[in-house]
Symmetry: C2
């Protein structure tokens, strides 16, 4: 658990923690305690005009003819880790899924599954993180739901966040738009989120601490669109990391994808941790990284735009889409030899997001 909260933190909790120190089944039962939790903790913290409707569904204005919609459930363990927590993830992860369609994220919903016995203090910390991340990303929490499950039927907190964003561009950003010859760009180094969690989970200490890269990517995408880059495809690199994302794209567009491993940025601490724990950074989860696929002629311009954004200072052109009609991801090392990067058959890092 992160301990960098100010001392006044607990006294600010709108629910008196000394009287209600933990979540009970009654907090999910539809009665007075659930009412108190929703009104005093959630509604007060996330307050906005949509939540004030206090209705089963929120009525929301939509200024565009198209929206993006997404959902993600967060089951990360541990709940707090260097660089973020489950609350930060629940906002930025969903914001990023919307951004991958080039949408401007607008509305989020929150669905909590709380385990009986969860300390109220933990919930309060997570709720505060959600509020900060939502404010930072410029999205409103417009509706929510809370369920409580018996001890041993959950793991503290699971959060679903679903999102709606506005689509104001005419691009078709999806895997089927990818064409042979296209260039593949990445916005920075890979593997930090997954290794930060693993280090925390195993109680390992490394010389330089690895922070999760958890960050919102929608303003980076927005900048690319504003600069008239004809984006073919965007994908954020979460579970399964870079290779799994490229595999999914190869599967849909039906072309081989090649990357140059030496071009993929990886921090030294991540390389070291991966060696010790037996992981390949190309398969490790990120929460603030994307690949952007554009026509080769646009690659340099896109790279310049990305490097000029705070979420893209470490951007690189890492590979390209090949002519070969094969569902395959390959990597070329510095000696020029190829290796096939298989989709992992099993788990690499469960409960990472």
């Amino acid at each position: 658990m992160n301990t960098d909260q100010p001392l006044s933190f607990l006294s600010q909790c709108p629910i008196p923690i000394d009287r209600y120190p933990m979540i009970t089944m009654a907090h999910g039962g539809g009665g007075r305690l659930m009412n108190q939790l929703i009104e005093q903790m959630f509604a007060q913290t996330f307050q906005n005009s949509y939540l004030l409707q206090k209705h089963d569904s929120a009525v929301l204005p939509v200024p565009t003819k198209k929206i993006a919609m997404t959902t993600d459930t967060y089951t990360v363990s541990p709940l707090f880790f260097p660089g973020g927590d489950i609350g930060t993830l629940a906002v930025y992860g969903t914001v990023n899924d919307l951004a991958m369609s080039g949408a401007t994220p607008a509305y989020l919903s929150l669905g909590f599954i709380l385990e009986e016995g969860l300390p109220m203090e933990i919930l309060w910390r997570v709720v505060q993180s959600i509020q900060k991340a939502a404010a930072n990303a410029g999205v409103a929490i417009v509706t929510g739901d809370t369920k409580v499950v018996e001890r041993g039927k959950g793991d503290g907190i699971y959060i679903n966040s679903s999102g709606v964003g506005f689509i104001e561009h005419d691009l078709t950003i999806q895997p089927t738009s990818v064409k042979p010859g296209d260039s593949i760009l990445i916005n920075g180094d890979v593997g930090r989120h997954g290794m930060a969690i693993m280090a925390q989970r195993d109680g390992l200490r490394f010389e330089s601490e690895m922070d999760s890269d958890c960050a919102p990517l929608h303003t980076l995408v927005r900048k690319l669109i504003d600069e008239k880059i004809q984006i073919h495809m965007l994908r954020d690199l979460t579970r399964g990391g870079l290779v799994s994302a490229l595999h999914e794209i190869s599967q849909v567009c039906g072309r081989q994808i090649s990357i140059e491993e030496s071009k993929v940025p990886v921090e030294e601490a991540v390389v070291g941790a991966c060696e010790i724990l037996g992981f390949d950074p190309l398969y490790v989860a990120n929460e603030g990284k994307l690949v952007c696929i554009v026509a080769k002629e646009e690659a340099q311009k896109a790279l310049a735009v990305m490097r000029n954004h705070e979420q893209g200072t470490g951007s690189q052109i890492i590979g390209q889409v090949q002519e070969a009609a094969r569902i395959e991801v390959v990597s070329k090392n510095q000696m020029g030899s190829l290796r096939v990067l298989d989709l992992l058959s099993g788990e690499q890092l469960p409960r990472i997001c």
Copy 2:
């Protein structure tokens, strides 16, 4: 578990159950098994043009300037019960939350939390139920997410479904629109969903089996709107039942609400089960019931419209909004004496939805 599936049911499962008999951590790890689950089971069963985009978020047309958005997580135990299962609930519950804003439900997302060891057969049954319910309600499953948690960190299946609907009317259907003198209508008998689950959970047998009332309510609402009923407020009666819903409305509009208990329909089997198990049907969960609040002058017309719809044949005018500026729900019995219907302080029926 319901056993009325045809014999060919298991052989239709797109994932060979003899080879993959249960969910493993790898089904949530971002690799090949997760890919198989998503592509072969979810995408094939729910297929539509939005899912075919195979992207992090779905791009969706919106023909109206306003949408309704809602979220609900389903943790019901047991997963299967007379009259429905967690899949049916996940569709109709969310459809109903959209309908309470007078929206036409259009798009649903699904977020699964699967427990390691869950039999693949159970998941397949639930997925089939979702598909049937979605087809019946005319909504598309446009995006989804799957997480797997270790044994003992879940309870088989939890499902979040979030929804978006189109708002094509100019009514302001929310608690603040409720006015003194307004009439309160209900579309049928209360308490069946909660008692069906309780009976199943406790293995009780009653003379006449109680089925959950789980049903979509959006066409009933649509009919009221089409018939130009000036609806002030709608609320579906889930956790906490009729009394809790009326309390929430009283809290926001700041007026006392009175009902005549004898007018609230309750099936005999539900009355009996409630007596045995010690519940009050006015507080028991429903999944196909709503209250509709309209001006007194419109009550008879609204009642006629509701009774003429298959989800409203048992409709009744059950009470009214009082002048008294008190947050309170009271009931009048046949002798004319009043009793205050308190909001329950704790749980009545946990894990009912």
